[in-house]
């Protein structure tokens, strides 16, 4: 594992703001992710899709950040969904009992169809 950094990319697909995470999300950078997500919500985005396809691993700090963002989105009547949670990243969600807590789509395409 050579990449220690978390990279947060942002693109737009119609009305959906797509946030692409890559690398690892741990206690050193989970706040950065949370701040970016809550900033999007407070700036008025109504559909946010977070793509986990390139995430190496995540710790409970990341789950806390996602829970905070989910709550914020709910308060702002915004849709906040995840996609491409696969392999051992999915196992970690499962371990945390969090697969049912978030809205998770299998792929970005499927998520965009649902949100569109």
């Amino acid at each position: 594992m050579n990449t220690s950094a978390l990279t947060i990319g942002q693109t737009r697909a119609g009305d959906v703001c797509v946030v692409t995470l890559s690398g690892r999300i741990d206690s050193t950078n989970a706040n950065e992710m949370m701040e970016q997500l809550t900033r999007l919500i407070s700036s008025g985005e109504k559909s946010i899709l977070v793509d986990f396809g390139a995430v190496l691993y995540l710790t409970s700090a990341a789950f806390r950040a996602l829970l905070v963002a989910t709550d914020e989105a709910e308060r702002s009547a915004a849709k906040f969904v995840l996609c491409s949670v696969a392999g051992h990243v999915r196992e970690l969600f499962e371990m945390g009992g969090l697969l049912e807590v978030f809205t998770i789509h299998n792929s970005r395409d499927e998520a965009l169809k649902q949100l569109g």
């Binding site: 594992m1 741990d26 700090a61």
Partner: protein, 152 residues
């Protein structure tokens, strides 16, 4: 395998979340050096992050700067990570499991980390000695050949 076939790295950290990267990088460095398999290395990284961030956040409540030690030992049968801190006593072995999530209701943030760490490791040991928490995270996987090579 001889008893000498181990490699130990010690990292001193201050109680700040930004310090945790130094422990993560040290474990990564050993992972590269010993060609550790990806999955157990990641699982150990997650457990390390959970336990060390717990120390940073909860061991000291006085707002002052404190230092603690992370010691990583690579041996033929795997990796042990010891965390030694002189903060409040905390035994991860008796920490309660988070309550199971209720469908349609989000669990409150927090409480998950230690539970995940224990699940991802093969063994966790804890003792309180000399006013210090001494927590050991054990991940077992075969490193015999790699450790042997690095000794030559």
């Amino acid at each position: 395998m001889g008893r000498s076939m181990t490699r130990t790295v010690e990292i001193r950290l201050r109680n700040s979340l930004s310090e945790i990267g130094a422990a993560r990088d040290a474990l990564d460095g050993l992972g590269n050096e010993f060609s550790m398999p990806m999955k157990p290395l990641m699982q150990l990284q997650i457990a390390l992050d959970e336990v060390v961030s717990n120390v940073v956040k909860y061991s000291w409540q006085d707002g002052a700067e404190h230092e603690f030690l992370v010691r990583i030992t690579v041996h033929p049968a795997g990796v042990d990570v010891e965390i030694l801190d002189d903060g409040l006593a905390f035994d991860p072995l008796v920490a309660p499991a988070p309550s199971p999530p209720v469908p349609g209701q989000r669990p409150p943030p927090g409480g998950l980390g230690i539970h995940m760490a224990k699940k991802l490791l093969d063994d966790v040991k804890y003792e309180r000695t000399g006013g210090r928490n001494h927590t050991t995270l054990c991940k077992r996987f075969d490193l015999g050949a790699a450790v042997g090579r690095s000794e030559k």
